[in-house]
């Protein structure tokens, strides 16, 4: 991460715009125990109440880092009931990071966020239809399977 991802200009700009970056050695007690860190690199999106919203373990190249971070920030807003804000981050993954591993989860969470924001079930069904078409083998398609009946 230090050699490839963090020196990348896109990553630097992204982190400056959307995060407060905090670097801690993996064996620093008590934080490594508090967060149950077993391997490096471990990246966690954290709220100011120290609540965890998203975690990855292992190397991420710059594009994967940005896609995963968009998902993390979207989940940070989602968990705080800020569905409109969450949607902007899930939409960015879907439109700008379409090759990333985060797209299927973003499609699922976009459907849920739209439902939570409007109360209308149609976005859930659309999420399943998009997932089953574009990602037939994804775990997120399986999780959305019941929405086909809405």
């Amino acid at each position: 991460m230090d050699a490839v991802t963090y020196p990348d200009e896109k990553v630097i700009a992204f982190v400056q715009d959307f995060y407060i970056p905090l670097q801690i050695p993996f064996d620093a007690k008590p934080l490594s125990s508090d967060f149950n860190v077993k391997w490096t690199p471990t990246l966690i999106t954290l709220g100011s109440d120290k609540r965890e919203h998203h975690r990855t373990v292992g190397f991420l190249d710059p594009d994967a880092f940005i896609a995963s971070s968009l998902l993390g920030i979207g989940k940070y807003h989602f968990d705080n009931d800020q569905y409109v804000e969450a949607l902007t981050f899930f939409e960015k993954i879907i439109s700008e990071q379409s090759q990333s591993d985060s797209v299927a989860e973003a499609l699922f969470l976009r459907g849920v966020s739209l439902y939570k924001n409007s109360g209308a079930p149609k976005p859930l069904k659309e999420a399943y239809e998009t997932l089953s078409s574009q990602f037939p083998n994804s775990e997120w398609t399986k999780r959305a399977y019941p929405y086909r009946l809405l």
Binding site: M1, D2, Y6, P7, E9, V11, I12, A13, V15, Q16, F18, Y19, I20, P21, L22, Q23, I24, P25, F26, L31, S32, F35, V37, T40, P41, T42, L43, I44, T45, L46, G47, S48, K50, H53, S69, G72, I73, Y76
Partner: protein
């Protein structure tokens, strides 16, 4: 814009900035080698 990520090294100061700036924290556990 700086040409590198300026990492906080202390949880309390990162949390205080997160609260003030209404941003999440990116907590990076690394192996300093």
């Amino acid at each position: 814009m700086t040409n590198e990520i300026v990492w906080e090294k202390n949880m309390d100061s990162a949390i205080a900035r997160a609260r003030t700036q209404k941003l999440p924290v990116l907590l990076f556990f690394h192996n300093p080698g």
